[in-house]
């Protein structure tokens, strides 16, 4: 409590000394304008000015940022105003502190999510490293949030066989993203002896893993596995509730491939393996459904319209035309496409 001597009744003085002891409050006795200004510049300091000046001087002090201006000639009123002003100021400060703490937590959470998103992307295959004579790749991966319930894989199992899958775990965000990690780690296309496993068997195992996982609410996921035999140009497919892959032959119409069985994680199911023959120039697209009305039909239609472009440009053009993004550039649902083209004759 600083300032020149001013006649202050003892009870008011006692109250002022009490609040002046709070670190967030300062009491100034009859402060000069520049002194007041020096203190009020700090937003988190509540300044109580005690002044016996004119109404104009008191108004100027309030204008300058004083929390309250008290007149010692009316001590009873001054004491009430002092308590009210200090109580309000301190609760406002507490609220601001809580908000700051929340902001800090949100920032930390956001940093974690960005890291999770980077990690999730790091699982995805680098398609340029997979290119070989006879096959080209393209992909699109547009999560709705930082992290996604979608994932995909492309992996050579041996010089002739390529494993491809897309998966769509239920929901969005961290929960769905962790499910993709569970399914990715449980995907075993090759048995212990190094032999290729039947795609239906591989998908059935994923279903078992999901149903056996000790999760509060057993979640579901859609999964489509395609095993390419490059020399034979055949694709063996097993599909758990996922949109059927689309084959686009050069000059021909798009056609859905294989069939689908039950979503993963619902009931024990026999997952059928469908074998389809491909031809040079064929492009095959595995894709998640998205939730946007008309998305499925629109995307396949747009693929056909953009057929004359290179594979990656075709994919970009078709997606650009088929999906809408919100103000933040996010799709309404996670969008994932994995595409291959069989080149050569």
């Amino acid at each position: 409590m600083t300032g020149p001597a001013l006649e202050i009744p003892p009870e008011l003085r006692a109250d002022l000394e009490e609040v002046d002891a709070f670190p967030e409050v300062v009491v100034l006795i009859d402060p000069a304008p520049e002194v007041l200004e020096a203190y009020t510049i700090e937003e988190r300091l509540g300044v109580i000015a005690v002044m016996a000046g004119t109404p104009e001087e008191r108004a100027a002090a309030l204008e300058a940022g004083a929390l309250e201006v008290l007149d010692p000639r009316a001590p009873a009123e001054a004491r009430v105003r002092l308590q009210t002003a200090v109580a309000r100021f301190r609760s406002r400060l507490r609220l601001e502190e809580a908000r700051d703490a929340l902001d800090r937590q949100t920032e930390a959470l956001e940093r974690d999510l960005r890291l999770a998103a980077r990690l999730q992307r790091s699982f995805l295959p680098r398609l340029t490293e997979l290119e070989r004579p006879g096959v080209r790749f393209a992909s699109a991966y547009l999560p709705r949030e930082f992290v996604s319930g979608d994932s995909y894989e492309a992996r050579w199992l041996d010089p002739d066989h390529l494993a491809l899958y897309t998966l769509d775990a239920v929901g969005h965000g961290v929960r769905a993203a962790l499910l993709t990690v569970l399914l990715r780690s449980a995907f075993r296309p090759v048995d212990a002896a190094g032999a290729l496993r039947d795609p239906g068997e591989v998908v059935a195992e994923l279903d078992q893993v999901l149903r056996d996982a000790d999760l509060d609410e057993a979640p579901t996921a859609a999964f489509c596995y395609a095993l390419l035999d490059l020399p034979r140009r055949t694709l063996r497919l097993a599909n758990a509730g996922h949109p059927l892959p689309v084959r686009l032959p050069p000059g021909g119409e798009p056609a859905a491939l294989g069939g689908s069985d039950l979503l993963l994680g619902v009931d024990p199911e026999r997952y059928e393996t469908h074998e389809v023959a491909l031809a040079p120039g064929d492009r095959v697209f595995l894709y998640s459904d998205g939730a946007e009305p008309g998305y499925l039909a629109g995307f396949v239609d747009q693929l056909a319209r953009h057929r004359d472009l290179e594979l990656m440009d075709q994919l970009g053009g078709a997606l650009g035309a088929a999906i809408t993004l919100d103000d933040e550039g996010r799709p309404e649902d996670d969008v994932t496409v994995l595409a291959i083209e069989l080149t050569g004759s």
């Binding site: 057993a218 579901t220 859609a222 649902d333």
Partner: protein
């Protein structure tokens, strides 16, 4: 998407009990049932089950879209109902939603009927 309109609304309707006394409930889904409205959908389904319903009739006549999260709510509910002999039967699916059921094969674990009458018949069977 217009933010002023709710994505989806749910309406529970009274429904007479089955002849064997099993309590039934009917829930009408309207609009687009996406992940964002799943907590609300779950509340509605939970209330119906807490009120004793074992058999659920789902009116999808005005359902425009449903995503995997929406479908998952029904799968979770079915898990709870099945040990007690419970059932879920949908009716009034649009062709696009019918296709979702066809692809996911959830039409094998939940009933899908063409009309409300057929759905009630499906519950009775």
């Amino acid at each position: 998407m217009p933010s002023s309109e709710p994505l989806a609304t749910f309406e529970r309707r009274p429904l007479a009990s089955a002849p064997d006394g099993a309590a039934r409930a009917e829930l009408a889904l309207k609009g687009r049932v996406y992940a964002d409205v799943c907590p609300q959908l779950r509340d509605e389904l939970t209330r119906a089950v807490e009120a004793g319903a074992r058999e659920l009739l789902i009116d999808a006549t005005h359902l425009e879209q449903i995503d995997s999260a929406g479908l998952n709510e029904f799968v979770q509910l079915l898990r709870k109902l099945r040990p007690q002999g419970g059932k879920i039967v949908f009716f009034g699916l649009s062709p696009s939603i019918q296709r979702v059921f066809d692809i996911t094969k959830l039409n094998r674990v939940m009933g899908v009927a063409a009309s409300r009458e057929d759905a009630l018949g499906g519950l009775a069977s």
